[in-house]
Each structure stands twice: as C-alpha cells, then as structure tokens.
Subunit: 587 residues, 2 copies
Amino acid sequence: MHMLSRYLPILDWGRTYDRTVLSNDLMAAVIVTIMLIPQSLAYALLAGLPPVVGLYASILPLVLYAIFGTSRTLAVGPVAVVSLMTASAAGAVADQGTAAYLEAAITLAFLSGIMLAILGLLRAGFLANLLSHPVISGFITASGILIATSQLKHILGISAGGDNWPDMLGSLAASLGTTNYWTLAVGVPVTLFLFWVRKGAKPALQRMGMPPRAADMTAKAGPVVAVALTILAVLAFDLQAKGVNLVGAIPQGLPPFAVPSTDLSLIQQLWVPALLISIIGFVESVSVAQTLAAKRRQRIAPDQELIGLGAANIASAFSGGYPVTGGFARSAVNFDAGAETPAAGAFTAIGIALATLFLTPLLFSLPIATLAATIIVAVLSLVDLKTPKLLWRYSKADFAAHMATIGVTLLAGVELGVISGVGVGLMLYLWRASRPHAAIVGRVPETEHFRNIERHKVFTVPHVLSIRIDEALTYLNARWLEEYVLEQVADHPAVRSVILMCSAVNEIDASGLESLEAINHRLGDGGVVLHLSEVKGPVMDRLKRTHFLEDLSGNVFLSQDRAFSEALKDDGQDEVSDDPLLARGMI
Amino acid sequence: MHMLSRYLPILDWGRTYDRTVLSNDLMAAVIVTIMLIPQSLAYALLAGLPPVVGLYASILPLVLYAIFGTSRTLAVGPVAVVSLMTASAAGAVADQGTAAYLEAAITLAFLSGIMLAILGLLRAGFLANLLSHPVISGFITASGILIATSQLKHILGISAGGDNWPDMLGSLAASLGTTNYWTLAVGVPVTLFLFWVRKGAKPALQRMGMPPRAADMTAKAGPVVAVALTILAVLAFDLQAKGVNLVGAIPQGLPPFAVPSTDLSLIQQLWVPALLISIIGFVESVSVAQTLAAKRRQRIAPDQELIGLGAANIASAFSGGYPVTGGFARSAVNFDAGAETPAAGAFTAIGIALATLFLTPLLFSLPIATLAATIIVAVLSLVDLKTPKLLWRYSKADFAAHMATIGVTLLAGVELGVISGVGVGLMLYLWRASRPHAAIVGRVPETEHFRNIERHKVFTVPHVLSIRIDEALTYLNARWLEEYVLEQVADHPAVRSVILMCSAVNEIDASGLESLEAINHRLGDGGVVLHLSEVKGPVMDRLKRTHFLEDLSGNVFLSQDRAFSEALKDDGQDEVSDDPLLARGMI
C-alpha cells in the first residue's frame, strides 16, 4: 500500500476527498479553463502547430498528471519556453504546416514522456541540478526575447523566419515594407491593452470599488476580453477581406488517438532536443510546484514529479498533443483560485474538452495577432535585465555562465544555449572543485588549537609541516592534492615530517586514496614521514579495509595536537627508498 | 624574463648546463635510443602505420618537448594506448595501408597538438581531473587486453580484424586454420624470451656475477637481442620464402616535411578522438612526470606540460609522425639511466635520426612477429586484475566507474570506453554532490557546543530547529537545500525558528543564495523565522553585497550558541506573508 501510493499519489488525497474540496476545486478549474483556452491556442501557434493542438495538449495530460503527480496545485499544459523549443526541434526535421512537422512534435512529446518516466523510476531527478539558477534565468530571458521577436511578424501581418535573433531581426526588417496596416491596427491596441491588464487593471478595478480578490480574478480574464473584442472587430469591419490572418476553422471534437512515430532515424534526430525539453520542463515545473507547496507546508516528491510529467507527456503524444509541463503563471492562478487537489486539473481538462466540442466555431474569426499579443505580453515579463548586474556584483563565475547562456541562446538557438550554459557552469564548478581550500597551520600558543599561519600568530618548526585540508578528497582534486603537498614540501627543504589534518575531510574516494598513497611513497623517497590527524570515523573505517594504513610511513593521530607533539620529538633520520613506479605497478 | 622562462623552461636549466650533466644525458640517451628503436617500429605497427612512421614520431617531437617541457626526465614518443586510439580513429575514416589512413594519423597528431597547446595557454590542465584513477586504470587494463589480442594475428601469421574484443576473438578464431607455423615458430619463442627478460633476466645476470645496475641495463636491451636473433633466424632459414611476414624496405633518410590536412570534413570526424587522445596522453604523461620529479624533489608545471606535449605533437604532424606522449616505461629507463635534463631527449632524437639514416636496411628482415611479441609483453604488464577487488572493498561507486570503463572499452572500443568512464564517474560525483551531509544539532548540556542529535545526547526545544550544513552551497545542491530544510520544517510542525549553522560552508554561489532567499520567503509564508549562525568571513563579505541580509526574516549570529539562546526567547508570534512568486518575479 505504501509502495502503491508512492507511485499513485491519487490514492493518498483521494481518500479524504469531500464536498468542500470538490467545490473549491471546481471553482479553480473554471478560472484556469478560461485562462487556458487563449493561452493554449497561442502557445500552439508559437510551436508552429495548428491552434487545436494546444487544446489537445490541455486535456488528457492534465488527467494523467492528476493521477501521478504529487503537487496539489500544479497546472500542467503547453508553456512558452517548451513551445519555442518544440518549434526549434520540429523545424529542424520538417517544414511548418506539414504532417511531418506535426508528427515530429508528437514524437517529441512521446520521447520526452518516456525519458521523464525513466528518470523518475531511476530516481534521477538530481540531474536537473546541472541547470544552475543563473543558467536557467539566462535561458528564460533569452527565450523570452526570441519568443517575443518571433511573434512580431503576426502583429505586423508579414512573413518572416529565422532560428536565431540576428536572423529573425534581419528577416523582419526585410519584410517590413509588406506590413498589413489592418493587422497592425488590431495587434498594437491588443498588446497595449494586455500590458495594461497585467499591471494596471487590478488597481483600476479596485478604485472602481471592486474587492481586491474579485478585481484580481477579473483582471486574469483580460485575455478572454481581448479575444472577444477582437473577434467582434473582425466581424464588424470584415477584417478577413482586408488581409488580417485569422485562426480559421478548428476541427471540432475530442482529441484523436495518435500514434507516435517509430521511425528510428526521426528518433535519432529528436532525442537530444527531447532530453533538453524534458529537463527544462522538469526544472520549470518543479520550481513552481515547490514554491506553491511550501506556501501550505505541503511537499512534493521530485522523483515522482518526473513520473507525473512523464505520464502527462505520453498522454499528450497519444492524443495528438505536443510537449507539456507545469507552467508558472497558470499554476499560480490555480493556487490563488483555491485549488486544493489535483482533481482541479482533471476538472480543467473537462472544461477544455467541452470547449473543443462546442466553442471552437466561435474562435474562427479570432485574429492571429491577438494570440501573438498574448504571447508577447506573457513572455516579456520573463525577461529579467536586473540579474546580470546582481550576478556581476555577487559572483563572476555565475555571471559568466548567465551571459554565456543568453549569448549562445540568442545567437545559436535554444538547444545550444542550454547545452553551453550547462557546460560553462560545470566547467567553472569543476575548476573550483579541482582547487579546494587548504591551509598550512600552526599551534596557537598556550592552546591545543591549530590555525592558518597566514591569519594567526602561531607556533611552527622548520622540520614539521602541518597542512589542513578543507574538502573531501575526490578524483576531482586528487591531482591537486599531490601537487599541493609536494610543492609545499619542495618549498620547505628542512621538512622531515608532514601532518595532514583531516578534520574537514568528509570522504576519500579511490582516487583520493591513491593520491595519499602516492604522496606517502614520494615523500618517503625524499626521506619525509607522512602522518594523518583527526581522520573522521567513517573515513577511517574505509581506510582500514585497505593496505594504506600499513604502508603509511608515519601514524594516524586522533588529534592534531598529539600528531604535532610526536613529530616535534622525531629527528627525522629514518630513510625510506624503493622504486615507487615498480611498487605501484606502473612500469 | 620570468614570463619567458615560464613558457620556455629550457632557459632555466640551459643556463647551468655543464660537462658532467652533458655526459650523464648522453649516456641516458644511448640507452633510451636502443630501447626506442624496436618500440617505435612496434607501436607504429599497432597504430596500423608503416614502421618508419614510428621512427619519425621519435625525432622532432623529442626536440620540441626538450624546449617547452618542464619535466627533466620524461621521454616522449609513441606509446601503446595512444597508438591503439590512433588506429581506432584513423580506421574509422580510411583503410589501413592507404594514403588517407596516414593522412588521418598525421591530422590526429596535429589536432591533438593544437588542442593541448590551447588547453595549456588557457591553463585548463584541470580538465584531466575528469579522468578518475579507477577510470584510467580500467581503461588501461581494457586497452592492454585489446592491444594484446590485436597482435595475436601477427604471432600466428594470419589475417584478422575487429574493433572490439568479441569481434577480434571471432575474427581470430575464424582464421585459425590458416596459421603459418614458421611464423608461430618465431613468435612463440620470442614472446617467451621477452617475458623472461622482463622478470628473470636481471636476477640471472646477477647470479652470473654482473653488478645489479649493469644487470638491469643489460636486461633492458633484451628486445634488441630479440630483434637481432630473429633477423639472423630469418636470414639463416630463408623464412621470407616460407611466408613469415617481415618489416621489409623502410625508406632511408630523415623525416619528410608533411602538411596536416585542412579538409574540414576530416577534421570534423577526427576532433573528438583527437581530444580523447590528448587527454589520455596528457594524463599518462603527467602521472609519470610527477612521479619521477618527486623522486628528486623537482617540480613540473602541468599547464606548461600541456604546451610541451602540444608542441611535440605539432612537430610530429609536420614531420610525418603520429600522436606522441610521455611513456611510462621509457621515462623510467631514462631516469634510471641518469638523465638530468630534457637535453637527454634531444640527444635521443639525434640517435633515432642516425638510426633512420643508417640502420633501416638492417631491419629489412625483422619479422613482424618479433614486434608483435614486444607489444604483447609490454602491454600485458599494464593489465591489472587486482584493482577491481580492491575497489569493490573500498568504494562501490569507484568500482562501478572502473567496471563500466573496462566493459565499454572491450565491447565498444576505446573512445566510447573513455567517454562512458568519464560519464559514469561524473554522474556518481554529481549524485553525491547533490546530497551533501547535514545534521540537526542540539546543545551539549553545560557547554556552548552543538552536536548531531542522532549521535549525542543534546538539548533541543520543539520550536527551534538548528541545522548544520557540512558543505559549500552550490548549484549542485541548491535544490537539495530547499527540499531538506522545508521537509525538516514540515516534519516539525511546532517549529517557529530555523537556524542554519554555516561553520562548514566555504562558499555560497548565486544558486545557493537564491535557495537561501527562497527558503527565507517560504518559511516566512509559514510564519517561521530564519537565522544564520557562524557564517565565515569571506562568505559574509559577499552576502553583504546583496539584499539577502536585509530580506532575511531573522538575524545572522556570530555563534550558534548566541543564535540558539536568542531563538529560545522568541515566542514566534511575528507573521510574514506576501506573495513570494510575485516577489521573485516568477509570474
């Protein structure tokens, strides 16, 4: 039972489901549904897909997440960044508007779903750690700029393309002469209206006497108002005849049953982007789920979240949708509207299903420009220009990873952007990990304490060198350890004993152990004795399983003070010499 | 001057060069030359190249390393593992024996040289840390098995192929019927003789009254004896007519001037193997250079070593050679023979050049089987079957990386073997780094010390939670930190104050800072105050450059004891509440 409810969280919250919770969930579902309809159409447009695909991706995935997900309030569906990544990946294998393009999008959802589920079963959620905050925020800023730029053509009523920012701007500039002014006359006011709705509507409604919560909810319906008004404008002025692009006929009815491609060469082309979509989607989703859960002192289980999102994406693939994840904005709305359980997501799915059954004819005359305006307003709020300055002040390494991500994403596209951000971050981390902190220490007079000789007035003698290592000894710093100790000894020719103070060494892996063995042998060649002090219990237990303690030229002391006192007595006349290359089997 | 001698170490040791050093270097050069001639021919054979290419790779590269390298005793030239990797990489783009194959090998040396030099100028020697000791030893064991297997065909006098072990064994088994017994009659005795020379010759010579050092040096000349005897056997019994494969005509004269390919598609195919060759070669070279330098309390500069090896490989490419590096066996011989400066390497180069000018006709009748036997005996000593058992006992993670490297190298070849070893090692490292150690601590009664509540009898109260973090807060564990702290608070519903004890936190990167901010906000939402204690000086300096200290709901205390005492007084009635999603700009 415990096992089962770990993989099926619905068994947990389902047992205590009652009428109060039901009415709260239903209320939240209505609000999220109203918000989700224009958003789903818009994000499908951004992904280069027919608008109805956005609706398909907002039905079955929500039901599956409700069964397998652990967040009570996460709202799953199409989101901006993942839609952009889908457009980039599918665009690399087929042209927009073709059946092959749609097939690629469906296959991406399928691959991403399988990958997420496998990572979840392997409990490999920690992989998302590879994306540092500066890399994520750089990626989101750059994606926001790319997305907003990609939508400008719909506001201008022109054709333009481009996979990276310079190409997009060039393509826009080249077609600027063909601007359709009727489209512009719809697009610009809608964009301004939506910006105002986002910032100014709630205070304005409150000034008109509406209570804060109602004002907030009404403001959230702004995009629906924009949709309604622009449809009316199209009908009133016959804008279709004047060249304004409309959503047009949307197939009515529930999502079709789709089968993801089993074409191996397609899978070979798509697995890398699918992996990136999975990780980015997971990080976005977990961040928001954690934030919301903490507000109510609830918990989410990141590894089970992988399974929940995996199931949602597989469901999306089989119902003709494209990759989905938990979105920032809509989850916050769901939470604010009072959703208490994942059932709210299932009710939203019913709402969207009803919309695909009955509302799609009404959307025939919706201008594409309205959807583009929705996207632009949503993503520009993701663009964060303050972070670079803060990072520069706080950490140059993080700044470098952030700027590299922004630069590569804008110039070479989303996939290389993420990869290079992870690469730069990892490189800088490994660089630092390979140079851990260590200090030469001496005894604080009249005490048993040992402190850094550079910061304190301490007692040392020329023939004893005490080195405190402030880090676990792993393969990343094993080479450094050898170099550091041997250099210090080379710098202090009088030294006859070296004491490594291991009070901060939480672990010694096999490479660290080999480095200690090498140091022991090499110091021995030069007639220097090696002692260890303050080795932690678990570390010592593992060392006892090896020959190291027998081979050690000196001793292991419980305290640095004891080690130092013993080394002081030692006149250093014992000489060790053998061929360490032969001894280590390297020849 | 300092700058110049950093990049040109020759300026350093060149100034004090005198006649004694000269005679020592000359002596060592003679011994290494004698050893290097059969070895160079054999390794070229292993790389699938004409034997003379091995000689070319042993002339100019040694001179360049003498100018740019920092090790006094490293002997550079063709080595077994790099030769195998060259065969694998060049074999993927062309057939052995063709001009395209030779061009690929030369281009590999060129690319590898450029990469090494660039890494050196970028001071990126730390990249070699990615190869942990278990991965390196697994790779060398598997390579030894692959190399020995690949040479069996020459001992049997048959044709066989295969890029991985199962294929090699299958191919050998299939051709076993065509064994040339005359070749076998040469190959088996030579192999046994060389095994005996390696282990038994020195004691035997000593028993015959030779002094130890002379016995050692004479034993090292064993391969030359084998070469001479088998040439005589070929001539005496006219073995060429009986189907024994011979080295044949070697072009006489100094290395030609060669130009590496500038064919972009070839470079695209070869850059990954070239990078792997560079890193494996660098690791092998630095390991041996460090071991030898330590014996005489000398130092090497790893970043400058990259430049030295880079120059050597570029020189190899321009003189018709293939990738080279510092070899284990020959460097130890050079050291033992008394080499004092890199000039010994330059003298060795002169020796090999004289050999290519005058000795090559003598090698016409050398059986390929003799070279194969040299290789088999050399590489089987690299196969280390004790390490897996030791690793299993010491560290399961290191064992996994070791076995993955051996398995993938044997089954899928050298390149994938290295990559998967690095991948598995990094994955396990990141997995551990993402779960650092932390403990809930309480006050040891009657003291100001705080210890882990699970290991000591300590004083705690329900409304104060003290957590000691035993690791730097970086992006790899930032998510863990949030989860850990929030879970602990969820598990202790009475908690009103959380104290993070930061005595072991050496660094907080931007992601760690954001996690602290998020924890502060989320705890605030639940009415819990966050304090920090014992923050280190440099960490505090950086925190002061941010808004974090102003936003922190609690205080930063110099000691955990002060923090705990203050939190005890606090009745926890202050309530903080705002929308943290809005506050963090996430909506």
